[in-house]
Amino acid sequence: MTVDVPVNGTSRREEIEPRMLLVHFLREQIGLTGTHIGCQTGQCGACTVLIDGEAVKSCMVLAAQAEGHEVTTIEGLAPAGTLHPVQQAFWEEHGAQCGYCTPAMVLSTVALLADDPDPDEHAIRHALDGNICRCTGYHNIVLSVRAAAQKVAAGAVPEPFLQR
């Protein structure tokens, strides 16, 4: 079947099998490998992307179901060479250890801050219930989300990524 899925603002018209999951569509069909695959059973949250601004597990969605809905992946958050304020906050607060869960954590945070610009620790942990960090780096992830909230509230825009 042919589907037309808008990904990061670009229409992606592709010939796929109906059983193709959105995560495989993103990674294998159009080459956006920033969305990771963990469990493929809706448990780990590593494949989180935004559909119409809401966080979803892309291993639990058929690519066909996403047709006509705006999909945002980690690649779409900020122009190449720059970091979205949430990515910048994770960088500054050491919110990543191995990094496998990080794109998903960042996207869940973007969705959270759109609904609740000033979340307390309880709200942050509730919003990240579906994102597992197997390094167990949750402490710094929560700090990163708090820092991200402050950056977004202050009107931060994507910054050039500087390797230190």
Partner: protein, 330 residues
Amino acid sequence: MTMRTFAYAQPESLADVIAALGAAPSRDAVRPLAGGTDLLTLMKGDIVAPDRLLDLKRLTGLDDTVEIRDNELVLGALTTLTAIETGSLVGEHCPALAKAASLAATPQLRNRATLGGNLLQRPRCWYFREHLIPCWLKGGDACPAREGENGLHALFADSPCVAVHPSDLATVLLAMDATVTVRGDAGERAIAAGDFFVQPDEGRRRENTLGGDEVVLSVAIPLIPGRTSAYHKAMDRKAWAFALVSAACSFRLDGGVMRDVRVVLGGVAPIPWRSTAAEAALDGERPGADVFARAAAAALAGAEPLRHNGYKVHLARNLVIEALEEVTRA
């Protein structure tokens, strides 16, 4: 993990869906797809292998509207768990349902999962979910959980199956006297929650009475002045777990005594488990620790623990007491 092949259809109307379901050679051959959070899991596990999926999210005639109509809170079948968790009407009129939604699954799944699908989700029993293991519910001869690893299984099972119903919402809806409206080839019918969830038997190896050609349209909760409710859920971790045991209780106070009492347990039977014995112990009494303890004991009086789930008796008793205390405070 990779699903078998299937066709994906986008019917234009509910009538098309009902016709397609009615014409299907078997119940599993054609399945409606809404959020997909349970159906895709079952398909990945090769527990069901439909030939065709009918996407319900692109047609007219099914919706995600939440509204007050004729003194009832009516929720469309496509209402997401996120909308139930955060919506103002549910929060105002049925906070126990909002809490149940907030304790189900994870944010990403709640954004997709729908009310209708939540009520129709299949049990999480590990024998049922493993396609290589025959089990009665999947069409086999016997239930391996009865003598197997049954720590998460039922205390009350008037069925060959001892899996427990996984829905948090269903437990609350039964305690609210909700009705489920469905539509099929023969038209529309409203089913009391207590008649919608029925233990599986030889003629119907499912946990509900939805017909093969029927689709859930909406759920209605009667608004009873003064009635309050509470939902308590015990999990083996603080988030992202199905209930070990849960309790939904509701009543209203009339001249200081409890009326219209409902006591429903989750995680203890193949369906949400209403205890009329506990309700009778509470009806007409003033709220208090002694009567709550008697009611909790009555709720568990007929429990038949399996080898590994005796802990649920104690847990359920305490959850009933906690939920009744919360209703009293509300």
